[in-house]
């Protein structure tokens, strides 16, 4: 959707600059005159919220790195030094630690919004896959960041996750020792994780730019899932409409975020991580951070080392194939009565897997994990391909403008309708 810019540089200097580097025009066409579907709801502000959270994490992280030292014998003490000695260090660390959780809350809402409104379907497959890549980079970044305080959960989390690679036949052990830089998680591991933890957010920022580029090239999806037919009737300019709506969404999200920072800063954390890393004693009940729990449940549900690891990685990888697994031409769940129900079942299953991941791997929890893990894959590999063939979608609105007018009780503009051939 480039080329919508009405930007005319005002003044001699602006014109001189624009003819040499048209960056102001680029910003104007992407963030001011860019046409956004007029039916976007608040679920569509999470892209902006996520961009803000990436900024918050990079900013607070760079500042924390000024006070931190990645050296196994002192890293735990350095984090306590930040908490006790550094001016506002407690605030900076709580922003960063809770910011990671907030980032994942926002990304899960963003992903489920995409699932509900079919945002991954043509022509948005590349946009979706870039999103999956960002999600993977986020998981890697968060995991390595959690290792840096060098507490018990840091150490044993790093041990368990890196040991996943030991499941690879023949070369597994070699790969794990290569990851560690030793024969166990230790100072070399901590150092490389710190370097990578600093690097990856900037790679995320790069992929985010591609993600937004792809989004603005094909145009945003919307709650009705029909394409923009007329820029004049179906869209409003990004500024002020989307800008103000996004800022409002960000402020509300910041209120939620602030409650955690100032009132329950350790709610998302684990008390064992306030015990310095001890390579001789594993905590009795070891769990990853909450945002990894569904995948952790899938890992533990398979009674085979390699199988469990493969299942866990497949659970993420399957998302990348979603545009081709979902055979329905209709995007939005609003017009897919059956998919809508399966969507909510899937959402409950995903949350259920998260709950099971937090419970000890024994008795009924194991059986429940196996059932939900099976359903997770059945949803993507069987239900979605078949649903497109058997489901009878509701009639789609002729245009976004028609959908908006119909929902708000006004008369549908006659003659604007064109037969819908492809959602």
């Amino acid at each position: 959707m480039e080329g919508h810019s009405t930007y005319q540089p005002q003044g001699k200097i602006a014109r001189w600059f624009e003819s040499r580097l048209p960056i102001v025009g680029l910003l104007h066409s992407s963030a001011v005159s860019y046409p956004t579907p007029k039916n976007l709801n608040y679920w569509y502000t999470f892209g902006a919220i996520l961009t803000m959270m990436l900024g918050v994490q990079i900013l607070s992280g760079v500042v924390l790195a000024m006070h931190y030292t990645a050296f196994a014998p002192i890293s735990f003490a350095r984090v306590e030094h930040i908490m006790r000695d550094v001016s506002f260090g407690w605030l900076l660390r709580y922003i960063h630690a809770n910011g990671a959780s907030m980032f994942f809350i926002a990304v899960y809402i963003h992903i489920f919004r995409g699932l509900y409104y079919g945002s991954y379907k043509a022509p948005r497959e590349v946009l979706w896959i870039l999103g999956v890549i960002i999600y993977l980079l986020m998981m890697a970044t968060a995991f390595m960041g959690y290792v840096l305080p060098w507490g018990q959960m840091s150490y044993w989390g790093a041990t368990v996750i890196t040991n996943l690679f030991s499941a690879i036949p023949v070369v597994g052990t070699v790969i794990v020792e290569w990851l560690w830089g030793g024969y166990s998680v230790g100072d070399p591991t901590l150092n490389r994780f710190f370097a990578l933890h600093y690097l990856l957010p900037f790679m995320i920022a790069g992929v985010v730019i591609l993600h937004i580029w792809a989004l603005h090239h094909v145009g945003q999806n919307n709650p009705d899932g029909v394409e923009v037919k007329s820029v004049a009737k179906d869209t409003v300019p990004f500024t002020p409409y989307a800008t103000v709506k996004d800022i409002f969404g960000m402020v509300v999200f910041l209120l939620f975020f602030s409650y955690f920072i100032f009132y329950i800063p350790n709610y998302m954390g684990h008390p064992d991580n306030y015990i310095p890393a001890n390579p001789l004693s594993t905590p009795a009940h070891i769990v990853p951070e909450w945002y990894f729990l569904p995948f952790y449940a899938i890992l533990r549900s398979i009674p085979d080392k390699l199988g469990g690891v493969l299942a866990m990685f497949s659970a993420i990888a399957v998302l990348a194939f979603l545009p081709w697994l979902d055979t329905s031409k209709v995007r939005s769940a609003r017009y897919r009565p059956l998919y809508r129900q399966f969507f909510w079942i899937f959402a409950v299953v995903a949350v259920g897997l998260g709950y099971l991941g937090s419970q000890p791997a024994e008795g009924g929890f194991v059986i429940a994990s196996r059932i939900l893990t099976a359903y997770y894959f059945i949803h993507f590999l069987i239900i979605l391909p078949l649903l497109g063939l058997f489901e009878r979608p509701k009639p789609l609105p002729a245009s976004i403008a028609d959908a908006v007018l119909a929902r708000h009780g006004a008369t549908v503009v006659a003659g604007a309708a064109a037969p819908q051939t492809k959602g």
Binding site: V63, H67, H81, D85, V86, S87, F88
Partner: protein
Amino acid sequence: MAHTETSGTNRRDFLYIATGAVGAVGVAGMIWPFVSQLQPDASVLALSTTEVDLSPIQEGQIVTFMWRGKPIFVFNRLAKDVELARAVPLNQLIDPQTDQDRVKAGHDKWLVVIGICTHLGCVPLGHQGNYDGWFCPCHGSQYDSSGRVRVGPAPLNLAVPPYNFVSDSKIVIG
């Protein structure tokens, strides 16, 4: 909002400005911790005073101590060093100051100065130069037995840190 009667100003303008003002205060409040964290932290401030025992320092000896990451010269001056410093007319000095102003009354033989050349921050060498004091190897500045600059390019005397005698043989710097 002095001109509330102007036809172009309405409720919406007020809300717009009020929202912007609250937002600006919030942003400023959030910027402050990010600026403040760069200040010396509590562990650095905890080291801001240093106790020095003078008893092992021999007459004529200069001993260097650390205070806030800087060298402190403690000079146990001989009687001739003090006499020499006090005999100099003030108008011959680059940065005129009497020797009495640079030491604690009653402890005239003890000179305590920050050992950083006032030119560009090097550490001068003791018992060198032509004035019974210090010579800076970086750019050739010379200081006398009172730590006063006698040959440039340094513009100022060696600074005297805040310190007090807690007993005849013990000082607290800072």
